[in-house]
Structure formats: C-alpha cells, structure tokens
Symmetry: C2
Subunit: 165 residues, 2 copies
C-alpha cells in the first residue's frame, strides 16, 4: 500500500546517483570505461583521419612482417570480412601494398610501406598521449598494475574459453 503520505517524493540524491551495487559491478565498470576509452581513441585517431583498425594492422605488419589477409585477421582480431575494407583504405593511401602471393595464389601478401611506417610512428605517439589522458588519475605504478591485471584476465579468457573461430 503506497497510500502513505510521501509516496511520490524522491530523495534529491536518488536523481543522479547510480546504485552502489550497480556501480561496483566489474562488468559495468568495464563496459563504461571501455566506452569512454573507445570514444577517446576513436576521436583522437579521427582527428588525423585514422581508425583503430588502421593502427592495429600497421602495428601487426611492422611487428611480425608481411602476411596474408587472413593472417592479419587473426593477429588483430578484425574479422576477415571487415579486413577487406580496411586494407582497401590503407592501400588507397599508400600505407600498405597488396600483392598476390606467388607461392599460394589464393593469398594476397600485405606489406607495410615506408609511408605506412611513418604514419604508424605518428599514431603511436598519439595513442601514448591518449592513454595518458585515459589513465590520468592513476600513478605510474598503478597504471602498470592495472594493465597487468587486465592482461591476466584477458589471457585467461582467450586461452581457456576459445569458443569457435
């Protein structure tokens, strides 16, 4: 029975405050921080007309050398359906080169160009700055630990529960 007086007065606090049980849930924290981080990075890269994907592919190419599109897909986690478009863009800007693999004609071999490397350095710098902003409230040691904890979590889940690639 809500006929008691004051049924409909909401405490001014309750207007803005998010419930504690909600705020503490790691899943919610993760999802919100990830959203924030995504926006930050996406906007930061958009300012130089780049995409998360571009960075991932270029970094993968520089670190492990040329590879087929499928290989890049697996390394970066970008679906091979989407990889096509990403590589079209990168190739269109002269950041990578796409050539048929002489040894296996199903494959394209993707190679990073000098220009690609140059952009990669620039993006690396930009991302460093963005991460400074992202992790601003944490001390250096805390940032390290944060990254370590996240890494352990992710490793656990990617190595253990590999669903069905």
């Amino acid at each position: 029975m809500t006929s008691t007086p004051g049924a409909v007065d909401m405490p001014e606090d309750g207007e803005l405050k998010t419930p504690d049980r909600l705020r503490r849930r790691a899943s919610r924290l993760l999802s919100h921080m990830s959203a924030k981080s995504d926006r930050l990075v996406t906007e930061g890269l958009a300012r130089v007309d780049a995409h998360r994907w571009h960075y991932a592919v270029l970094a993968s190419l520089e670190e492990y050398g040329p590879g087929s599109q499928a290989t890049l897909s697996r390394r970066t986690g970008i679906y091979r359906s989407d990889m096509v478009g990403v590589l079209n863009e990168l190739a269109g800007r002269g950041l990578v080169e796409r050539a048929p693999d002489p040894g296996d004609r199903r494959r394209n071999v993707i190679t990073i160009t000098a220009q690609g490397r140059r952009l990669l350095r620039r993006l690396d710098k930009i991302l460093d700055d963005l991460h400074d902003e992202l992790l601003a409230p944490l001390l250096p040691a805390e940032r390290d630990q944060f990254v370590r904890l996240l890494t352990r979590l992710l490793d656990h889940h990617t190595h253990q529960a590999r669903p069905a690639p």
Copy 2:
C-alpha cells in the same frame, strides 16, 4: 619451398601472435575484456530471460525508491528513448508498476513490485556467479584492487569530462 629469396616467408609465430604494442594498450585490453564480460553477462541473464537493463532499473528502484522514467534514465545511463521499451517489458511481467504522477502530469512514477524484488535477488545471485567466472584468475585482494582502480578511473572521467547531458 619459397624460391624467391625471403620474399614471402612469414615466421610461424606471426600467425597467431598479436603485436605486443597492441596487446599492452590499455584501450585494447579494456575493449576486449569488456566484450568478453558483456557476452558473459548477456548470456547469463538471457538464460533466465532477463536483460542487463532490467537489472539496472530494478536495482536502481530498490536502492533509491520510485522515480520518473527520466530519473531512472539518469540513474542507470539508459537512454530515455530506450527506457520506454525496457519499462514496457518490466511492467508487462509485473516487475514494476507505471502510474501517472499526481503532482506532475508529465511524469510517470515507476515503482518496483514484490515480484520485481524477488527477481532482483535472483539476478543478483546470478551476477555474483558470473563475476566469479569473469575474475576467476585474480585473487580476492586483486579483484578488489581491480575494481578500485576501475572505479577511480571511471569517477575521474564521469565527473570531470561531462560532455553535454
């Protein structure tokens, strides 16, 4: 045998391994862990025919009492456009009640029902279990610290950079 000198040989490592600079980026770690966590929670709740949103609204109602749809929107972060549908579902199942506010005829006052509270407890239990799975590789103390770090990050970004409500 690749007859061309070294042109197309990719080190077997490079097939699977994600570049280090990529793997260490907090933004990437966050985004992947968040995806994992989202899947886990979404699937877990789907098993009892519930949604993340349902939980958020019910928790908010129990913790801060009844409120208008707009209020719930602000508390939970669910857009008020989407709130309509969520409340339709909740009301359809008798988990909340929607009544016109006698004091302000623009508003509906949303109240949680006894049944709603019962479901909330059940969902709380389910989420606890899912979080155990999510944070499995971390020791209790580490889980706490992880949550603390995340909380500080999120607080920083939500209180400082409030874009345009």
